[in-house]
């Protein structure tokens, strides 16, 4: 089961990569736990989570080939 995580804005300064593929992730809570182990700096970062382009607030089960977006506060314009 594959999950593709995209990092945006200042999060890429922490992850040093714009995208990461994870295997065997069941839900967003376990994904975050996994990411915090890989990138401890993320614990200081503020971000919202989108699952297949929809923002989610609570823990969300993931299907195979899900696209995740981790997005810090917006600063367009």
């Amino acid at each position: 089961m594959k999950t593709t995580v995209h990092f945006y804005g200042q999060l890429t300064d922490i992850t040093q990569t714009p995208v990461l593929e994870l295997e065997g992730i069941a839900d967003t809570d376990s994904m975050i736990k996994d990411l915090l182990e890989k990138f401890p700096g993320l614990s200081q970062a503020k971000f919202s989570i989108a699952v297949d382009n929809s923002l989610v607030q609570n823990n969300t089960r993931l299907k195979d080939n899900t696209i995740i977006a981790l997005m810090p506060p917006f600063s367009g314009g």
Binding site: H6, Y8, G9, A50, F74
Partner: protein
């Protein structure tokens, strides 16, 4: 079910003033328009800790941004009697002094055009997934924060 038309708002690099002119020019056959309101965002050469910003590099979650912009467009057209609305936002590097955002609303009367333009600018800044990376002269950077 209505089909929403997704328009691309992104342009590579700065918005050219000549593009603004041609956008205005195109409206001269729309004879019911009495007022145009235009907002332009320009990259400032801010000085932060003695270092000067030379430009901003914009990136976006483009697919989500365009979907979100479609919703903003619908909400603004539902609220104001607009003839048309055009939005263009830069991606990639925009140098200090160049234009990074162009919002253009038109209506029969000034109040709708002006209010719709201002509200659209606010919504673009607060709800589109776009990020600005402020680049300094020594190639260091900091991430823009919207107020």
């Amino acid at each position: 079910m209505t089909e929403k038309k997704i328009r691309n708002i992104f342009v590579n690099g700065a918005v050219d003033p000549a593009f603004v002119a041609s956008s205005i020019q195109k409206h001269n056959t729309k004879n019911s328009i009495g007022a145009h309101s235009i907002f332009l965002g320009q990259v400032r050469a801010d000085v932060i800790n003695d270092k000067t910003v030379t430009g901003i590099e914009y990136s976006s979650n483009e697919e989500m941004a365009l979907t979100q912009m479609t919703g903003i467009r619908e909400a603004i057209f539902a609220k104001y009697p607009l003839t048309c609305m055009h939005v263009h936002h830069s991606l990639g590097k925009v140098k200090a002094g160049e234009i990074c955002l162009f919002v253009f609303t038109s209506s029969a009367h000034r109040k709708a055009a002006i209010d719709a333009c201002e509200e659209t600018v606010e919504l673009i800044k607060s709800s589109l997934p776009i990020w600005g990376k402020e680049i300094f002269e020594d190639d260091s950077h900091q991430w823009k924060v919207n107020s």
